[in-house]
């Protein structure tokens, strides 16, 4: 195969390095997740026990079915906890490297901010800010391209959902100023 045959080439300038150090192992994460699930199972189990997990004249009470599920979930996560502590394989597997975590956070944090902004300024303003900001900061794409793409996409969404399909999205002061 010759190089000239390759016709589509896309580069990734901010790709995570291969040799980045591990942040945590799979074992640590499995232990934490098992503990969280166990806590959840106990909380839900208690709540269902309080609701009533027995029988009344009309049949099983409201908490009956979910109570036993909580028991199953608790048992399975306890097993998972022990299995993770015992397992050697999970201890050596990397959950995420530092470079990977940085990239994941580069999406997660903007998404979190997007949800916050949506709550206060409405979805369309938030979506314009997210797309433009993400393309410019993270993707290192020219500012005018980022702004234009964000504007076109947001406008397209507004026309499709709010106008054409009548699916109403949360809105803030900006839309109110335009009378929507």
């Amino acid at each position: 195969m010759s190089e000239s045959e390759l016709e589509i080439v896309v580069d990734d300038p901010t790709a995570p390095e291969e040799n980045s150090p591990a942040v945590t192992s799979n074992r640590t994460v499995e232990v934490v997740v098992s503990l969280l699930l166990l806590a959840l199972a106990l909380t839900l189990g208690y709540d269902n026990w309080r609701t009533g997990m027995g029988w009344d004249p009309s049949g099983p009470e409201a908490g009956y079915f979910p109570f036993y599920l909580a028991v199953i979930l608790a048992a399975a996560s306890l097993y998972g906890l022990i299995a993770a502590l015992v397992s050697r394989a999970a201890a050596s597997e990397t959950f995420v490297t530092r470079a990977q975590l940085r990239r994941v956070m580069a999406v997660f944090v903007p998404t979190l901010l997007f949800c916050l902004v949506t709550q206060f300024l409405g979805l369309y303003v938030a979506s314009f800010l997210l797309i433009a900001g993400f393309m410019w900061f993270v993707g290192r794409i020219a500012l005018w391209k980022s702004l234009l793409t964000a504007f076109v996409f947001t406008a397209l969404m507004f026309v499709t959902f709010d106008i054409a399909f009548d699916v109403i999205m949360p809105k803030g002061p900006l839309e109110a100023a335009f009378g929507y």
Binding site: E7, V9, A15, L69, Y79, T118, S127, G139, F161, P170
Partner: protein, 508 residues
Amino acid sequence: MEAFGLLLHGFAVLLTWKILALMMVGLVLGIFVGVLPGLGGPNGVAILLPLTFTMDPTSAIVMLSCIYWGALFGGAITSILFNIPGEAWSVATTFDGYPMAQQGRAAEALTAAFTSSFIGSLVAVLLITFLAPVISSFALKFGPPEFFAVYLLTFCSFVGLGREDKHKTVISMALGLLLAGVGMDTVSGQLRMTFGSADLLRGINFLVAVIGLFGISEILLTMEERLALRGHAASISLRVVLSVWKDLPKYWATLLRSSVIGCWLGITPGGAIAASFMGYNLAKRFSKDPDSFGKGRIEGVFAPETAAHASGTAALLPMLALGIPGSGTAAILLGGLMVWGLNPGPLLFVEHKDFVWGLIASMYLGNVVGLVLVLSTVPIFAAILRVPFAAVAPMIVVSCAIGAYAIQNAMFDIWLMLVFGVVGYVFKKIGIPLAPFTLALVLGSRAEDAFRLSMIGSGGDLRVFWSNALVGSITTLAFVLLFWTVISRVFEVIGRLVRPNEAARTQS
């Protein structure tokens, strides 16, 4: 032959300009979703579901199922041209598809992939056409105990037959069933697990969870990887298509074998991923020169693609006939049915004939239109990959948020989606499967209702699940599948104990 008449009626329902246009839109969106990294069939359908809320059910399901077909077609494009499987079920397609592209036979490989996809789905649709009405009319006799036994069978087979650690499947399933119970209890009207929160009163919406689990988490996962890619551009000429089609009869055995595997694994919760690998491996084993596989053999493209598509399509059979989805995407379509006020299950064939046969007819039509569409537009779709991920990722996030919000008009759901995104990311990384969770969440309240109704009927006697031959055999089968690994190990041990004696006897 009754099915045939109803099917013709289904075609009559479909053949309007509006529906055909929606079909094209669905297919294009689906291929788009299949080609893009970080999006797949289930996410695509979940995100685009809100678009259909204001449509009538038939148009909505036609568009959604076309998105699904499109995604199935789209996965093959990136596997062959870029060696990047767009979907997990097209991993096996890369084994021989990419070497073919390297040898300059990309057009041939793509034609083979699309054609075999088409054949696989066609076989599965034929199966649905003739089997689904039979099963559903049989299931009309089911009472609550039988239905609960069928749900139990579905859940148990996930645990027993899944490749993941058993306890992880159980965790995923129990969590799904528990979360399905949050909110108001449908029987007694009591509040459960809401902890005084007004937002939890509505319950945890299935589609919101799916959008978070598959959409947001997939973006996080995709960002971890190196996103640079290099691949081949290809256009398909009519000459290549015809020459591949001319050779098709030579491969009838591979195509048939893969179709059967796919249909079987689609109906049982084995799924398209398992089907594609099994199709590939069996084609290799039955081949006269297995060593030529992996070096660009066309059969290596035919086998996994046929199986994956047969399976993806056959997964809709249990959904239509029994109301039990055979795959994650089928579960989401099922969630859609409920949003449009249709009650999935055997009654669907009686109460909503137009809808069901319209859907089945759309499977035929969608696949034909899809085949023509992908064959003619491959270069355009391959070029989509030129769009940087930094532009695609935020757009997917916004679409997810719109989808999550639109379901119940609740800001709380956007936050819930974010939480499920993180949960999905962590679960995928530590090997807790998401499909059982999805299935449990969508079936949870129905399974609970069936259980409680049977308990009320029997006065709390669990023997009701063995009260007649039908329910008894389903329940027993469920337990056999649940403990399948234990049972098969016992048989192995017995076999080992018996065989040495035999060997000793034959030697002496």
